[in-house]
Symmetry: C2
Subunit: 340 residues, 2 copies
């Protein structure tokens, strides 16, 4: 990737109805690594099948992609010229009510987990919830265990109080893999200023979303406006805490939005389901349709005044440095385990 | 372990109501590694909780035990002076009806799996089954996948035809981790002579059981008779294919026998359950009550004519060599994955 110089291009969130064409797109775009969603509302058992699906993709498309489970896998992917794939869940539903499943699912390949997805979870509250009690008792336990096991804590989709609790209590930096500041995306899903500041102060990361519903003016948002939003956030957080988490969703229809929004927690009237299906997936702005369009964003960031080194960091270098620490198991624990 | 010289002491099957006392016994006995059972009839979801239980034991008792998941973990355990624990299932129930769960559960820590437990499974028939159709279509698929993933195929408790099918069709050697030859244990659970020969011809392993029900004459069986049985098997198979899989079960009552025998597949009358509970666990012969009694067996093997080097192999060296290959993922696949 020319724009990024020697630094990798990384996207901290995509979710598609995966086919080889997507992996070929990643490869052609020069993507070094990508975090993908394997679960929204799935419990432990279903998550195993989703992980098995990815194992099969890694075998079927081993010329294009490879798993990234440990820090060294990031460098291996670049060396091999393959796109490194980090598996994550947008909900803690996979661990159900068992803290011990953090390590079990981490071992099975799940490297990232959100504390909540819009709603109340067993760990805390989502951004769309009626009220936010902050991190729960189990939330504190699971946060510790995720920190120990090297499973990245993702505060995207969480409520502000839960986000601030997690940032404050985590033993290592957390990330908001995909979202935009509230000054740009004025909704509970937009990230509040105190959260941006707390992330930056603790070495955390903010991944900017390109999902059309997260853009000011939605489909009318220009690439320049997006770049200016990044610049304004850099003034708050510093450019070294910024990255891309495009939330690029491809190949889905409206029934997937229905699944993401409603899972099985809501008894959706059939008329509403039909409306979801009829509406389909919302169209992206023409300047961000696919992974290779990240290069245009890199160019736009230079246009709004970022230095080439800063652009390279935002387009992936910052995520690479962050993930290479976040995916390592806690060293104190590792040291204890290695001791006689 | 003096009797074994520089070779490790390994037990290829134990199952207990685990407490720190068991791990301390292992350590005091100089055990290098042990294969333990985590599932008899559990499905995928329950198996995750059993794996989480072991993760917790590995943390709580890290001074005594450590997981053995990859070949290099065997050497690491010896270097660290800790007992290496290999996790296995005595039934394919953990993968349910999904071949993809082999890799997922292998990654989560399950390193060994039996094809059947006494009954018909989705893969083939158990030794107590009414008839044995041999390895099923799914059985062949799962055998290939276990061979690829480096999950040891265990043919203990399988029917003879299923055992011979597995030995013949496996791409790498299989093991019968715990059992005795039929000439010594005359029951369908006893291993038929053709299976012993086929195991030896393909580089497989036979682990001798010390469970009282597997001994000729049960509790009246002497250590000398046991050693003579090993010697007679060595004449059939060669001493390099022999090891110990003691099937030592500690801390359980009769309700665990009920669970092992009947799981949830059988509607056990309450009177029979009460009889199981009342009977408790059968008593072991006085010469094999705990792990340290393996040293007496080693001495007895010398008495019946084995050379010190042969005894060292049978007491663990053979298992160490076998597991160091069996626990590695298929190299062709690994090579493919590493290729650009």
């Amino acid at each position: 990737m020319d724009e990024a110089g020697p630094e990798p291009l990384i996207d901290a969130l995509q979710y598609a109805d995966w086919t080889r064409a997507h992996f070929a797109d990643w490869h052609a775009a020069g993507l070094a690594a990508v975090h993908v969603t394997v679960a929204y509302h799935e419990g432990a058992r279903e998550t195993l099948t989703r992980l098995a699906d990815w194992n099969q993709r890694f075998r079927d498309h081993a010329d294009l992609i490879r798993p990234v489970r440990a820090p060294e896998d990031l460098a291996a992917a670049r060396r091999e010229g393959r796109v490194g794939v980090i598996l994550g869940a947008q909900n803690p539903s996979p661990i159900e009510n068992e803290a011990g499943l953090v390590q079990v699912l981490r071992d099975a390949g799940l490297a990232v987990m959100q504390l909540t997805y819009n709603n109340l979870s067993l760990l805390g509250a989502g951004c769309a919830e009626l009220d936010d009690p902050g991190l729960s008792r189990m939330g504190r336990e699971v946060l510790r265990e995720m920190n120990r096991a090297g499973m990245l804590v993702d505060i995207a989709h969480a409520g502000e109080r839960t986000q601030l609790d997690a940032i404050e209590q985590a033993a290592r930096p957390v990330a908001l893999t995909h979202g935009n500041p509230r000054f740009f995306h004025d909704s509970p899903r937009g990230t509040a200023a105190p959260v941006l500041r707390a992330l930056a102060e603790t070495g955390g990361m903010m991944g900017f979303s390109l999902y059309v519903r997260h853009l000011a003016g939605e489909a009318r948002c220009t690439r320049r406006q997006f770049a200016e939003m990044v610049a304004r956030t850099a003034e708050i957080m510093g450019p070294e805490h910024l990255g891309i988490g495009s939330d690029l969703c491809r190949g889905w229809g409206g029934e997937t939005i229905d699944w993401m929004r409603n899972g099985r927690w809501r008894l959706v009237p059939e008329t509403e389901r039909a409306a979801h299906r009829a509406a389909g997936w919302p169209a992206q702005p023409e300047w961000f349709q696919r992974t290779t369009d990240l290069h245009g964003i890199a160019a736009e960031l230079r246009e709004v005044g970022f230095q080439p080194r800063e652009v390279a960091g935002i387009m992936g270098g910052n995520w690479a440095r962050f993930f290479s620490k976040a995916l390592a198991a806690d060293t104190a624990d590792t040291a204890r385990a290695a001791a006689e």
